[in-house]
C-alpha cells in the first residue's frame, strides 16, 4: 500500500511509521515545512520515505503538493493522527489544531483520487461524560460538558470525520484508551496520565518522615472506576494489523483497549506498591473538593475525570473483526513501566 501519514513525527506516529515501514509499506509523510529537516533526521535510518511539506493548520494543506508530481494519485491509504495532546491546552489551540486541522484533512481527502482507506486516530475520551457501557458507535453531542479542551476538540473532530468523509472511502476510527509506555522497555514520551500519579507518589516519598506516618491516600476513585490503559507498543501492533487488513465498511470504529478491564484502584495500588510506598488508597467520592486539592498538589485538575471514570468501553466491533487482539495483563508490564520511570 501507499500510505500517507499525517502526524508521523509524534509519540505514536514515529512508532507507527517504523512499524509500517518494516512491513514493507511505501510511506509518505506530511510534515510541517519548518520541521522537515528534523523529520528527515528522525527517520534517517529508513530508506524510501517520501517527505511532503504541508501544515494541517493551513486551508490548503498540501500547498506544494505540486512539487511531488502525481503523489496525490498514488495514495490509497491515509492515516491522520496529528493532534495536540495536553490536558491543559487552550480552547483556541485545541480547536485550530484538532478541529480545523481535521477539517482541512477532510477537504484534502477529496483530492486524493485513489484513496480507499482513511484511518483517523481519535480517543476514548470523546465520550468523556458517559458512564456504563460505551459503544464504539456512541459519540456524544459536541455541546456536552467536557472536562478538558483536548477531549472536547477530539469529540468535535470525530463528529466532522463521521459526517464529512466521502462515503466512497472506508473510514476507520481508532479510539485508543490511555496510552502508556512500552510494555517491555517502559519507554515513554512525556509524563502524563498515570505518570502524573507516579510523580505524585514520588513527591510524597520525598517528604521523608511525614510520609512514613501517612498510611492512607484518599483519592476520588470508586471501587468500580475503570482505567482503560494500553501500552504504546500494543497499540502500534493493533493499529498496524487494522491498517494492513482493513475492514471495508463506510465507517468502523474500534475502542483500542485491552480485553481485561483494569480497575483504577487496583492499577494505582499496584503502582504504589511497585514504587515501594506503604500507602493504601482509600476511595472517596467528594468530587467537588478535588479540583482545588489537585491544583494544590500541582496535578492537572482534569485528571479527576480520568480517576473517577466509570465508563466501560465496549469492544465488540474489535472482537468481531480482530478476535486475536486481546492485550497484555497490566500486572505483567506495570513493573517495566515503573522501572523505566524510576530510571529516569
Amino acid at each position: 500500500m501507499n500510505i500517507l501519514i499525517i502526524g508521523g513525527t509524534g509519540f505514536i506516529g514515529q512508532r507507527l511509521v517504523r512499524r509500517l515501514h518494516q512491513e514493507g509499506q511505501k510511506i509518505f509523510l506530511l510534515v510541517r515545512p519548518k520541521s522537515i529537516e528534523k523529520a528527515k533526521r528522525l527517520f534517517a535510518d529508513l530508506s524510501d520515505i517520501t517527505f511532503l511539506r504541508g501544515d494541517i493548520e493551513n486551508t490548503d494543506l498540501l500547498a506544494d503538493v505540486g512539487q511531488t508530481g502525481k503523489v496525490s494519485d498514488q495514495i490509497d491509504c491515509l492515516i491522520h493522527l496529528a493532534a495536540v495532546y495536553q490536558l491543559d491546552i487552550s480552547p483556541s489551540e485545541a480547536y485550530i489544531q484538532n478541529v480545523v486541522g481535521t477539517q482541512n484533512v477532510l477537504k484534502f481527502i477529496t483530492r486524493l483520487k485513489n484513496l480507499r482507506y482513511f484511518h483517523y486516530f481519535s480517543t476514548y475520551a470523546v465520550n468523556q461524560v458517559l458512564s456504563g457501557q460505551v459503544k464504539e458507535s456512541d459519540l456524544i453531542p459536541e455541546s456536552s460538558h467536557f472536562f478538558d479542551e483536548y477531549a472536547r476538540s477530539k469529540n468535535q473532530a470525530e463528529h466532522l470525520v463521521r459526517e464529512l468523509t466521502p462515503k466512497s472511502i472506508y473510514t476507520i476510527i481508532h479510539r485508543p484508551g490511555i496510552v502508556v509506555g512500552d510494555s517491555v522497555t517502559g519507554e515513554r514520551d512525556k509524563d502524563d496520565g498515570p505518570y502524573y500519579f507516579f510523580n505524585f507518589i514520588q513527591k510524597i516519598k520525598s517528604l521523608g518522615k511525614i510520609s512514613e506516618k501517612l498510611k492512607v491516600l484518599p483519592l476520588p476513585v470508586e471501587s468500580n472506576s475503570l482505567m482503560p490503559v494500553i501500552p504504546v507498543n500494543t497499540l502500534i501492533e493493533w493499529s498496524t494489523q487494522i491498517i494492513l487488513t482493513p475492514v471495508e465498511r463506510p465507517i468502523t470504529c474500534y475502542h483500542l483497549v485491552p480485553k481485561q478491564e483494569i480497575k483504577t484502584k487496583d492499577f494505582l495500588q499496584l503502582s504504589i506498591d511497585l514504587l515501594n510506598s506503604p500507602l493504601k488508597i482509600v476511595g472517596i467520592s467528594v468530587s467537588g473538593m478535588f479540583p482545588p486539592i489537585f491544583k494544590l498538589l500541582r496535578l492537572p485538575e482534569q485528571l479527576v475525570f480520568y480517576m473517577k471514570s466509570r465508563a466501560r468501553l465496549d469492544r465488540s466491533q474489535l472482537e468481531a473483526d480482530y478476535p486475536e487482539l486481546t492485550g497484555p495483563d497490566y500486572k505483567e508490564y506495570l513493573p517495566n513501566l515503573i522501572k523505566a520511570f524510576l530510571a529516569k
Partner: protein, 679 residues
Amino acid sequence: MKEIIKLSFGSSRENFDQVVEMNGEQFHVRGLGANYDFDLALEIVKRYASECDAFALSGFILDIKVGKETYVHHMVKKIREAAQGKPVLDGNMLRKAAIPWAMKKYLEQDKHFLSNKTIAFYTGLVQWSFLPFFDEYQCHLLFGDLFFSLGIPVSIDGMKGLETFLKINAPLLSRMKLNKKVIRDFSSYQTKNKLMQPFLDADIFFVTESQLKFTELNDLRGKTVVIDRLTEENEKKIFQAKADRILNLFPINTHDNQLSSSVIEAILSVTRGNGFVSEEDILENLQETQIRPVMHESSNKQLGHDQFAFIIHPLSKSQIAQIPGLEFLKKTPLLDVAENVASKLPGYHYCQITGIKSDFNGKEVTGDLYLLPSTPKMLLTNPTEKVYDALNSICEMAHKKGAKLIGLGAYTKIVGDAGITVNRRSPIPVTTGNSLSSAATLWAASYGIDKMGLVKKSNNHYHGTCMIIGATGSIGKVCARILSKQWNKVVVVAPRPYKVLELVSQLKEFAPETEIIGTTNPNKYSPESDLIITSTSAQGERVLDIDLVKPGCVICDVSRPFDISLEDAARRPDVLIIASGEVDLPGDVKVQKTIGLEGETVYACLAETALLTMEGTFESFSLSRELSYEKVVQIDRLSRKHGIRLSSIMGHTGEISELEIASCRELAIQKLATSIIPD
C-alpha cells in the same frame, strides 16, 4: 481562488468546506463554528485573517440602530479589529433589501398572504432591518426579544414596542457577553405562559435558518413558516412538527447551500475588490437573480376544519317576501318600497352549510351563507361604491367568524369590476366562482347531448358540429378551446371579423385535428349544429333565428340576460335549452335554509368556493369578467378529485327534468324524420 471564512457563533458541528459559484466565479468558503465561545471566535479571526479574503459572520448580534444612534456589539467590534483590515460582513444589508424583495415577489401570487396576519419574529433585534416592510402591510408584529435577550417570557407587541425595547436595552445588549447560557431556547417551559401566549398564537412565524436551532418546533404546529433558506433536512423537521406550510424565500440549489446572506455579501465585497459592499451592488445582484420564493405545503397537513363564506341575495322582489320576518309583504303594494329599503340594509349571516366532506382526503368544510337583501335590479342601480361597502362589510364579518375564503353569488359578482375591488379591500381572498360555473355549464351541455343521444360519440369525442356564439368573449374563448378538443367541427361566431380570424388561427393551432370555421353569421351554420353555446353581451337582443336551429340541438345559454328569449324557447320544444348546470357537493351536506335550489344542490359558484377550501387553496381563483382556460381545466380536475358532481341541469324556468328531456328528444326525432334538411 478567493477564500471566505464563514464564522458562526454556533456549533462546530456544522463546519463545512465548500467551493461555491456566484456570477460565474468560484469561491472557497469555509465554515467554522466557535461553539458559543467568543474568545475562540476571536482567535480564529486572528489566526486566519492573513489567509482569507473576507469573513462572513453568522449568529452574532449585529449593529443595532435606534433612532439616529447605532450600537455596535462589543464582540463584533473586536472581531472587526482582529480581522486586520479584511472585510467582515454580516449580511444585514442584503437581508434588508432581499427579504422585502422576495416577500413582494411572493405577494404577487398570493396577495392576501399577509393580510391581517399576526407574524412572530424570534428576535427583532437581529431582524430589524427588514421589519418596516411588514409594518407597511399592516400586519400585527410580535417579537420574542424580551425572552431571547433577557430571559423574560413576555411577547413584545408591534414595532413601537420593539423600538421602546431597543431604546432602553440597546446600550446593555451591545455590551452583553454572549455565550451558550445567554442563548435562550424557546423550548424552555418558561415560554409557556400567558404573557408569551400572543407570540405563540401568531399565524406566521418568521425564522432564519440559524434561529431554527433554538426554536421549539412544536410551536409551529398548524402555522405558516417563512424562512430565509430551507434545506431538505429542515423542511422535514418543520413538517414533522406539523407546520402547515413553509415559504422558502430563497430557494437555491443544494450544491450552493452555503450561500447565506453574509457569505453572498462577503463574495460581493471580494469581487468588488474594495472590501466594501454598497446597497447598489446588492440591488444590481438582486435584479439579476432568477430566484423566486417557493411555498411548500405539508403533505400530512392537518386536515382540520376550514370554513368558507358565500354571499347570496334575492333574485327577485318576490323573494324579498320570503325573507323571514318580511313574509307579510307578500302581495302588498309595499313590496316595491321594501325592495328599495332592503337594498339599503347591511348583509347578515343567513345560514350554514354543513357536512361537506372531500371524497379525496375526507377534509370537512363548513360554509357560512350571508344574505345581502338586494335584488339584482337594486344591485345594478345602487351606487357601485355603496354595494362594494356592503359586500366588504360581509367579508369582514366572514373573516371574523373564521372563514378563509369568500365567494360572490349571483349578481354580486357582476357589480362594478366583477370582484376585483371587493377582493382588494377584503381581508380574505374573494372568488366569483366563474371557473366552476363554466365547467358545470359544459358538464351540463355534455349531459344534455348524451341524454338526447342524437350525436354519435366515441372515446369521449363527438362526431358532430358545435357552434359558439360570442366566441371571442372571455367565456366563449374558453368554451371554444375546450370544445375544439371534443368535437369534429367547431364554428366560432362573433361580430368582428378580425377577432374571429384571430381566434380561428389560434384554435387551429390548439386543435389541429378539428375543423374550425369562423363566421359573423350564426344562422349560416345553425341548421347543422348539434350544440350551440351562446355567451354574448347582446343584452337580450336576438342573436339567433331559432327557427333555423337543427331539431334536437342543445343550446347552452350562458348569457345574462338570456340570449334565447322565453318566447323563442317555447317555439322550439324539440330543442333543449340549458341555462346552467348546478352541482352536488360531496359528503352529507345540510343546508339549513332554502337557497332557491332543490334539496342539497348548490350553485356551481358556491361549489367552487367550497372546493377551493377543501383543496386548501385560499386564493382569488376566479376574478373579473375574464375567464382562463387553465383555471377551468384545473377546477374541472379538482372537482373530480374532491367529488363535486353535476346534479341537475337548469333551463330558463328552473330545473329540467328527465321527462322534459325525453319529450324533447321524441319531438326532435319526429321533426328530423319529417323535415327536409337544407343542404
